[in-house]
Amino acid sequence: MASVSLRKLDKKYGSLQVVKGIDLEIADGEFVVLVGPSGCGKSTTLRMVAGLETITAGEVRIGERVVNKLPPRERDIAMVFQDYALYPHKTVHENMSFSLKVRGVSAAETGTRVAEAAEMLGISHLLERRPGQLSGGQRQRVAMGRAIVRRPQVFLFDEPLSNLDAKLRGQVRTEIKRLHQTIGTTIIYVTHDQVEAMTLADRIVILRGGDIEQVGTPDEVYNRPQSIFVGGFVGAPAMNFAKAKVVGDALVFGGGNTLPVSAVELGRSSAIDGRELIVGIRPEHFTAAGGADGSLSAEVQVIEPLGSDTLVHFTVGSEAMTARMPPNFRPKPGTQFRLGIDPAKIRLFDVASERAIN
């Protein structure tokens, strides 16, 4: 096991810069998820750690070693690929033991390690099959098994669940988390799925356009997004955003809605008096309170009953928002209703920089 650190990491393809000076310290045994939309540089970053992409500038350290110039095989890592990259002409056993064979590990030791990994993943009965005879989920497990038998310093996962159907994805996700709890090796995991990031990570790194947007625990990222992008990317349904003006100790929304907010909650209240801001509110931070104070007047557009709760799509002035309400809350579309907000939970963003100010 080892820590990993990325320092001022750059990747350029010609004049196109896809990774822009990333700094990241990953602790020994930590499960870090790199998440972001397509083209944000997350896979490229992972492949630079693996040694499958050259590093344009900056430094990658695994443990105490700078590995920039080392080929993948000397970095003591194991990788699970999106398409699994199993050798189609080799059996599951041969696939899992290939790296050990290449490294000249004894047959007895190889046998033990493969048996152990297969047992852990529940694929012991598949060892003599070829990848073509396996289901998607089984192949995924073999790919993980191949990584486990190596006993590497770091595991790298490149979107390992994106080729599985939704049900299997949930199942394998749990298994990956259990695996990490069992063997405790450092994991760097790339995904575009924020649910995977939230459920798996010790820390989430949100990337956008080759830059780190925010690093934090799932709770931090969810509850205190540092930018509009993070607030909108993490959580489903996404965070609601609405323009509002600070007037004294209140936020004034479109349609004359006013929300009294204490100076503490506003942060540097004096500095922002009179300014227009973007207010971010999570759908579950609305309450069905009827009181006139700390509430908004909304018009119901659509309701979506989910059984466990009800999603209410509504407008405040000209802004469209969504609230997650109790399952029995069923206002009629077109009607007006009042929604309460917990002022402690709202996030305020600067209009120009889109960064959080509280």
Binding site: R73, M79, Y87, P88, F98
Partner: protein
């Protein structure tokens, strides 16, 4: 339920209604329909493949020489008996087998090398791949003529290079062995591009991620070639070998253009001997018998390859 019963009565009505005459012949069983649909292709194949082969085998049992002026006379297996005592038959058959044994592996190795080179990631890929096509696109007899000039004693580029390197020029077409070598080199040059094209297509089906996985697993380039590239190329190589072997057994144009079979009949192939008997000597009976032997040889080799593929798949 109501919906179901309505549709049931509807279809009952449909079946009572007589179908128009012109569609009635379509009310055949699946099996009969399949036969009917296959019939045109079957007839065509019978006309252009089965009939000529049948006719060939039939003719091989006759003494039919257009120069003798005599009518065809049934002689049973006499043509085949003559063949056994015919030294030229044995020599040309041996030459054919030897050409196959030398040029097929030769073209495979050269083709594999070319395909691996053409598959490397570099900027000017398409001109290289296009130039791979050129030897393949060239007519066989044309290639034979070009190489006959290359190997010419006085004006040939090969002897020129040998001279510059301080060697004596070789009179290629005066010696059976040198002539044979020149022909084999030409065939390898001409056919390796076909092998390269098939193998290149095979190479492009191997996902890049397998090599990346092997990089991470710790396998070097050589190991990757033997553990990943070669096993995954096997199907493409077998296909290329089948085609190449069959065409090698039928080798005609290149030795015909380069040496005409000489000196003596030392570079003549079975196909050239068949051509000589049927076209030059107009001895259709004996020529047919020779052609039957070549057909059996080709079928035998194909059967062996197919057997190999099938056991591999199993």
């Amino acid at each position: 339920m109501a919906v179901l019963s309505i549709s049931a009565t509807d279809s009952a009505k449909d079946s009572e209604r007589p179908s128009p005459v012109w569609t009635r012949w379509l009310d055949l069983s699946d099996r009969a329909m399949a036969v009917l649909l296959l019939l045109p292709a079957a007839v065509l194949l019978a006309l252009i493949i089965v009939y000529p082969i049948g006719r060939l085998v039939y003719t091989s049992f006759f003494n039919l020489s257009l120069t003798s002026g005599l009518p065809a006379e049934f002689v049973g297996l006499e043509n085949y008996r003559i063949m056994l005592d015919d030294p030229v038959f044995w020599e040309t058959t041996w030459n054919t087998v030897l050409i196959t044994l030398i040029t097929v592996p030769g073209a495979l190795l050269l083709g594999l090398g070319l395909a691996l080179l053409a598959n490397l990631p570099f900027a000017m890929q398409w001109p290289v791949r296009l130039s791979l096509l050129i030897p393949w696109a060239l007519p066989l007899s044309f290639a034979g003529l070009i190489f006959a000039w290359f190997f010419h004693y006085e004006y040939g580029v090969v002897n020129d290079v040998l001279n510059r390197l301080g060697f004596e020029g070789i009179i290629w077409f005066n010696s059976p062995n040198w002539a044979f070598a020149a022909i084999c080199l030409t065939i390898i040059w001409k056919t390796s591009s076909f092998m390269a094209l098939i193998i290149l297509a095979g190479l492009q089906t191997i996902p890049r991620s397998l090599y990346e996985a092997a990089d991470v697993d710790g396998a070097g380039r050589l190991r990757q070639f033997f553990e990943i590239t070669l096993p995954l190329l096997k199907p493409a190589i077998v296909v290329a070998l089948i085609f190449r072997t069959i065409t090698a057994l039928q080798t005609f144009d290149i030795p015909y253009m380069m040496t005409g079979g000489g000196p003596g009949s030392s570079t003549a192939t079975l196909a050239m001997y068949i051509h000589q008997n049927t076209v030059s000597f107009l001895d259709l009976g004996y020529g047919s018998a020779l052609a039957v032997v070549m057909f059996i040889l080709s079928m035998g080799v194909t059967a062996i390859y197919l057997r190999i593929i099938r056991t591999k798949e199993a």
